[in-house]
Chain length 239, copies 2
DNA sequence: CCAAAAGTGTTTTAGCTACACCCATGA
DNA sequence: TCATGGGTGTAGCTAAAACACTTTTGG
């Protein structure tokens, strides 16, 4: 492994020190809620995709930028939900291990090894439209079911836990489903999204009525699949 | 006005640069919800009480520290609700004006004049127990009704607005009333707190039933005041 | 025609609102 | 005893849950 130059790392001059963001990127797939997790090179360490904020960049824009880089998508649903600021949450040695596994030898006191406060966001996006792009330090970025995550570094497990809590709370308030599904979808698919998020079964008939009476979707033509049963309508979210 | 030495200001070496907190401190008084607002010396500028985070201090602890300094209270109810990170939210010239009005002449590029990301918290406390202590830069800190605030610097008005929204959302979930009232209180007082927060009248009889059925309070002895009417019970929150 | 999935109608239930009523107190 | 504020009971409404029923499709 060749020794790389620390000059290739994000530069302190361009970024706000001690401040990072982490994003919990939700996608729906195979009747389960998934999250994008990246794995760092040669280290066996898993983490939420995150990044740093440029000195002349809005916080929200920094998160959007990272999200676009990693998923190829623009215009994703994004919501800030908490800021994690314990002194001992960011471990310099974890970051050091990651950098060393990538062939860097950061000098003592390098800004990336310092304490970080992290602003956490969650994103909702259409799983089928994403092509995960790992960053320079990571091998891969893959979907993991929320209930089957690998061990994560630092406090990232807590961040995910809180993200799921907030997502559940916002489920009825904020058209959450619309961002996790393709533009047109069946009522069954929407129900499965709700069930995946809430972690419980819902009764089909009442769910249908609830969604329809909430006036959030419009009905389109019927969908004809090769199922030995009645063809369902397709729906899409309003506005 | 004598020229003061910038060395008396919070030192960059001890604090995390670019990071601040602001606190929306709620108190209930005279049937109205109030907020503590401080006024900077000789400037006519009003702001939320805030502060900076020490390099070896938990974010939450920094906020608690500031709150204790300014109110004399420990153990207050505190909740983080949002982080404000727009580039143009913090105006260097506003901070410069404040410092100059206090007799400082901060050099160009002083860290306090730089961009700040601010983590916002709200606090709930018993109005009657507070003795507001203004900080070194400010003349006074006083209670203002939420609906009658003076013009605030930077984005502090937005911060207050969001704080009130979140407080309303949390009203039923988080025993909000318990922190704004003395340990024992009448049902009427609690109802007035709810009304002040929600900004609407509630019907007395149903409010009583709702609180009692929520099993959040215990009833104590009756209160005998000099009113020409039935003496109300006193209640206190459980646990 | 049957099984499976989709859609609708109907009954029951629970929670909330409105309002009537009673109680306690001091003037 | 009357005015005022505190406390409870109850009828009526509405939203949600449970369940029965019909419809549509491929095999």
């Amino acid at each position: 492994m060749k020794e790389k130059n620390s000059k290739d790392l994000p530069a302190l001059e361009c970024h706000i020190p001690h401040l990072a963001y982490d994003s919990v990127i939700f996608g729906y797939h195979d009747s389960e809620l998934h999250i994008l997790i990246l794995e760092y090179h040669n280290s066996g360490l898993y983490a939420l995709p995150g990044g740093f904020v440029k000195r002349d960049e809005n916080l929200d824009d920094a998160v959007k930028r990272g999200l676009t880089e990693r998923t190829g998508l623009r215009e994703v649903y994004l919501e800030q939900f908490s800021t994690f600021g314990k002194v001992n949450r960011s471990k310099g040695r974890v970051m050091k291990k990651i950098l060393e596994a990538n062939g860097y030898a950061p000098e003592q006191g390098h800004w990336l090894l310092d304490r970080f406060i992290s602003v956490a966001y969650y994103a909702l996006l259409d799983h089928s439209k994403v092509t995960p792009v790992p960053d320079a330090l990571s091998d891969s970025m893959n979907w993991y079911p929320v209930d089957g995550l690998p061990p994560l570094i630092m406090d990232h497990k807590d961040i995910v836990k809180k993200a799921v809590e907030v997502l559940r709370q916002n489920l009825d308030k904020k058209l959450v489903g619309s961002n996790l599904l393709p533009p047109k979808f069946t009522m069954r698919a929407l129900q499965q999204v709700y069930e995946a998020i809430l972690g419980e079964k819902l009764t089909r008939t009442n769910f249908q009525r609830k969604i329809l009476s909430a006036d959030m979707v419009v009905r389109h033509e019927k969908q004809f699949l090769g199922g030995a049963h009645k063809a369902p309508y397709l729906y899409s979210f309003k506005s």
